[in-house]
Symmetry: C2
Subunit: 230 residues, 2 copies
DNA sequence: TGTACATCAGTGAACGCGCGTTCACTGATGTAC
DNA sequence: TGTACATCAGTGAACGCGCGTTCACTGATGTAC
């Protein structure tokens, strides 16, 4: 067992971080499909086989980058959450933080929300970091609900069983109407971000910031949040 | 100039189609990043250099596949449009057709709506086919508007200039409130489809068809369409 | 209708490249006594 | 505190692979007269 205090242990942590940093740099420059162990090693002045002391395979390096990306996005969103007061404002602020992070880290965004990397399947360890933004949105709705400031969206009868199942899984203390709307809004948020990021808004939407804020404001209303709710 | 009737001309059309079919098959099996000219040629019993008689480069083959994918999706959506009566029903049906096509052609969907292929930029020829679904949604709103069955969504004052610009570009005969909501819904539709397709709904949404129909029904309402409108 | 020439699909070899991973090794750092 | 041994980061060569693209060529199909 290596102690956490030895120079060897410290070096290992540093080199691991350097590998991930360089990999992230290449990800940002070229995208996940072009991420290559050999190129990372080359840039770090190491021989490619040396990376195998740190990551058993290219896929494990990818997994580490995916987890870091979810965590980085999650942290941005959580920090934004602290800065706003009131559920509606928080909703907008968190959505705007997701968009901002995506624009600042396009390839990392593509890595986690774009097309799956061929031949790669994400292990279970990616699930908790992937849930952070969703949990934040649920938390906002919960605050509004407890404050009594949450309207109840419509829910067709044929969707009620599924809505109740999702509610039991995700937020048993919220009405099923709200949980259903939350899940839909969550997906729709990433539709807005993805379209802007991947170029579908090219020559269509120009004032994208304002457009986005309006659109996510409408999403908030769909969940039952109104601008005035405390 | 080759006549359209010669055996040579006919053969050229057939071989071009065979190349695209095989490329599509590999796309479906492996994804765009793994699409290889050599593999396509191999599978067709040709030598790889022979493909250069048909496509000047790998990127040109990709472009052809992208255009075909947009057209295939567009045709599915347009066919669905014909089958339903009334704007609200048409909206739901067209959205459901987009989802169906995506589930049936996941890698083609990823090719056109997923992360951009690294090192590839789509030429202008892809723009018109890419617009087909959007135009269809605009057409549905137009029908409802002319029939007088379209409510007017809210539009914040600070977004009005952008809304009017988009309206002039996309559908000058519709109210800016509606056009803005249409563009947002259009992006959000692909958020719903993408999340389902790329696995984000795994262990979250189970009755996906019903969930989707409800969510796009809500999108329709956001545009001003109601179930009863003729 | 027959012949001479032009067109062009497909061949096969080659160029130059980069990739992930394995393996036996060296030598420095850390550990136990 | 000093010595003997174990650990492990990093090396360098190699394996086996696939890729896009170019080029000079053969031979069949099509065209003009």
């Amino acid at each position: 067992m290596s102690t956490a205090h030895g120079a060897r242990a410290r070096a290992r942590i540093e080199v691991t971080a350097a590998i991930k940093d360089e990999a992230r740099r290449q990800l940002a420059a070229e995208g996940a499909a072009r991420l290559s162990l050999r190129a990372v090693a080359r840039e770090l002045g190491m021989v490619s086989s040396a990376l195998y002391r740190y990551f058993p395979s290219r896929d494990d390096l990818l997994t580490a980058l995916i987890i870091d990306a979810y965590d980085s996005l999650g942290e941005s969103a959580e920090a934004a959450h602290e800065e706003a007061a009131g559920p509606y404002e928080r909703w907008i602020t968190v959505c705007a933080a997701v968009r901002r992070w995506a624009l600042d880290h396009p390839h990392e965004y593509a890595l986690i929300y774009g097309s799956p990397v061929p031949g790669y399947t994400a292990p279970d360890a990616t699930v908790p970091p992937a849930a952070r933004v969703g949990l934040l949105l649920i938390g906002i709705a919960r605050d509004a609900h407890q404050g009594g400031g949450l309207a109840r969206p419509v829910l067709p009868a044929d969707l009620r069983p599924e809505a109740e199942r999702m509610t039991a899984d995700l937020a048993p203390d919220l009405p099923p109407e709200v949980v259903t709307a939350l899940v839909a809004s969550w997906a729709q948020l990433y539709g807005l971000v993805g379209f802007e990021l991947f170029g579908q808004f090219h020559r269509v939407v120009e004032d994208r910031e304002r457009f986005f804020r309006h659109a996510v404001g409408q999403l908030a209303r769909g969940v039952g949040l109104a601008p005035e709710s405390a």
